[in-house]
């Protein structure tokens, strides 16, 4: 199955720390995806039951910060994400680069 680059990036961020809850801006910074791409993807993942979301309680600090909505992979989502990423890496030809660009100077 062909896994698109943005979806792969999102799944990798989620799989990086399964116990961590991520909110939208966190994911945007980690994946470098624009909001117009990330949020529909999160909504679809949530509709498929691969991601769950929950609102944080109203913060009691005096900054006036509104509550955030946090996302987390479900157990099924983690299983599917691992499977899809493994299939993608197996299907890639040997020596093929990942969708993420390597850091400068990391490859000679």
């Amino acid at each position: 199955m062909k896994l698109t680059g943005p979806l792969e990036r999102v799944l990798r961020v989620f799989l990086g720390d399964l116990s961590a809850r991520q909110y939208g801006y966190d994911l945007m910074k980690a994946t470098k995806l624009p909001s117009g791409t990330l949020y529909p993807m999160l909504a679809r993942l949530q509709a498929e039951g691969l991601v769950t979301s929950e609102w944080e309680p109203q913060p009691d600090d005096a900054s006036g910060r509104p509550p955030r909505k946090y996302y987390q992979l479900t157990g099924e989502g983690a299983r599917v994400a691992r499977l899809e990423l493994a299939q993608t890496s197996l299907a890639a030809p040997p020596g093929a680069q990942s969708t993420t660009r390597p850091a400068c100077g990391s490859a000679r």
Partner: protein
Amino acid sequence: LTRSPLAQRLAEHVIRHAVRHLPDDNREEYYRECAGELFAILHDSDVPSRLRRSTFALFYAAGHIRGTRRLPKAATKPSVPALPGGATRRSPLRPVLASSRAAAAPWRPVAAVIGAMAIVAAGVYGLAHVRDNLVLELRPGSNPPATTQAPHDKSSSMYLLSTPGGLFTPATGQAKVTATPPSSPRPASTAP
């Protein structure tokens, strides 16, 4: 009296505009989520410049205009119903990808074909113009091919083409030879 920054108010306004595309039950929750993110963006300590934070907040809000148009079809209901008997689907991510592709408007292929034809026609027309101009400049006496009427104003063609024998005026088609006498006669070949 505390007022939110201008960028925040603008971004909230854009988001409020963007969520109009959503169903009623999702609209307010989506707006609340975006408002929470806006606060995080505008108070992000990793970005020291306030101008950059404000700019990013506006881009963030503008991105939701595009995002909310994709959202209702996929997010409100699963695109593939669950299989009976607890059977597992072959790939649960397939509907996620398929719905993003299906969100494209159906007229897009037609528009793409028309656009490609227009680009090709413009390219052919432009190449014909270039060819006619080249013919007129290199061979002033000859008629250009009847593809286009290339504007060749004589008054504007006062430029001179330098040729090996002197100067070439395209208006007359004659070479004005500015002969310069050789400084010394060419020595005859002494080769046997």
